[in-house]
Symmetry: C2
């Protein structure tokens, strides 16, 4: 059993890696950021990560008091501690024994690893909106749609460690949008930040409806949000559509694990004012009567700048 007053959280993103020392209340005592994409092999990257970890431990005056390190990374497998071929990480095009390598570089400090959405779920359960909840589903609405499922207080990893890919369930069964994963109609193609921008471009093409979005050269979800804020009708309809697709899918997720709540996090979740009502309406229209108006939709309570570090760090309390 590991002991120690503090944990380290590491969030591995495509461009940057965020690291922080965290206490049991979720206060980030020291943090730093390094580049993820400076190296094409893993060894020099791990060396830089270890250096950064040692630096923030020193900054936090937490030497000898670290219980362990939690890592959230794309395609991170909790069972093996490996990152299994993540196309967005230049040093992980094949399988990388990340947890093992990092632990060795940190003189044997224990390291736990999972994907970013699962880390977010543990973070929310430890420090955030899901505190005290034993059964909930975390949905991250970012560039893609990620998910972390918690049942009886434990993240669901499944037979192989990769459970919880709800962004790739079918939102649309026929003629759905092409997804990066190779399938069509995935929830992620409609309800991620990219999906919202895609809806905007598609609808501008298909109708003559006036919208401030027409004047833009490129459209990102942030533009759609700003337009909705200004009362742009097309932008508002885009969020209503996005919320409806989410709510319909949530109804099916509920039939699976009967969660107390669905917790939303990520860039797109900032559009709560436009998404909440259509999500709740579609969810309650499509769910079995026994769950109608029973499952809460809640939004992450973690400070956005800290959330990724907190999520990853929370894993380490279980080491």
């Amino acid at each position: 059993m590991a002991t120690g007053t503090y944990v380290v959280g590491i969030d591995v993103g495509g461009q940057t890696t965020k690291l922080g020392v965290v206490d049991a209340r979720g206060t980030v005592l020291a943090q730093t950021v390094i580049r993820t994409d400076n190296h094409s092999t893993v060894e020099p990257y791990i060396e830089e990560v270890a250096e950064a970890v040692n630096k923030i431990i020193a900054d936090a005056k937490a030497e000898g008091e670290i219980r362990g390190v939690g890592v959230g990374a794309p395609n991170g497998n909790y069972y093996t501690g490996n990152i299994e071929s993540a196309p967005n990480l230049p040093w992980a095009h094949s399988t990388v024994e990340f947890a093992k390598l990092l632990s060795e570089a940190l003189n044997g400090l224990p390291v736990a690893l999972t994907n970013d959405a699962n880390a977010a779920a543990v973070g929310e359960m430890t420090y955030g909106a899901a505190r005290g909840m034993k059964n909930f589903i975390m949905i991250t609405l970012g560039t893609g749609v990620g998910s972390g499922i918690v049942i009886n207080g434990e993240v669901v990893y499944g037979h192989d460690g990769f459970a919880g890919e709800l962004g790739h369930t079918a939102a649309v069964r026929n003629n759905g949008r092409v997804c990066n994963c190779g399938k069509t109609g995935c929830l992620e193609t409609y309800c991620s930040a990219t999906g919202v921008a895609r809806t905007a471009r598609e609808w501008l093409e298909l109708s003559d409806e006036p919208s401030v979005l027409r004047s833009l050269d490129t459209i990102a979800s942030k533009d759609v949000y700003d337009a909705a804020k200004d009362g742009d009708k097309l932008a508002l309809k885009i969020f209503e559509f996005t919320g409806k697709i989410l709510g319909r899918s949530f109804a099916d997720f509920i039939a699976f694990s009967s969660p107390e709540a669905i917790v939303l996090f990520g860039g797109l979740a900032r559009a709560k004012e436009f998404l909440l009502e259509p999500i709740e309406n579609a969810m309650n229209e499509n769910v079995l009567p026994l769950w109608k108006n029973k499952v809460k939709i809640v939004f992450s309570q973690l400070k956005e700048s800290d959330a990724a570090i907190l999520g990853a760090s929370a894993l380490a309390w279980e080491l």
Copy 2:
């Protein structure tokens, strides 16, 4: 901690209640059947059940060696031990404290209760095709479509005890068939025994394709099966369609809990020869690449006449 060499399994169906004494290998040592629908209040029914239990315990010469009683019943809630308003049970139109009442009638013998599909999952894990599996999904293809989800060796009950209603996830999102639950497009409306008969009636109406099914006054799934056996092309297409809808939905279920296998049970699962291939094809076409050709479709190995009793009895080993 309960001890004892044997358990009792009770399967409560709409018309009959099957009871049996079972040993650790899944041998049914003594069994009997009573009517479920002779009473409109629960007390006299419980009395009959208790009598029947005592009789089969005596038949099996297992007095004093019973660890507990497991019950599978529609709308059975594992957490509360209650049957919560089951329209098909004349004495359970409102909530009935089934486990408590039965335990009292059996002089304090512990009683565990869940719904029939969850009981089937535990049965399959204890005695059947899922022995040794920690992560699988049980799908029962009967009058309806039921499901029992096992994660890390435990049935998923969720926040309220009602998790695992996969028969009521959306197989068809628009213009889907009306379901008894009040929704439309539920998996159950297509892939249950009733659903197969419904497909037959619908297709006969919509096309002029010749089929032996045209000569029947009423069509049950068994008729479609017999016709398929005889090479009837329409009947074969109906099973292909049914398997495809199942496989597509299974792909989404896999994204949730990443099971080792999906286990099929129930009357319609007897049509394995016509269902297996279309299920596997549709599942592998619609699943994320990482799970392609990885998740097994297996069929129940429990002797059909014993399966309901075995499933319920298996619950009692955990008491």
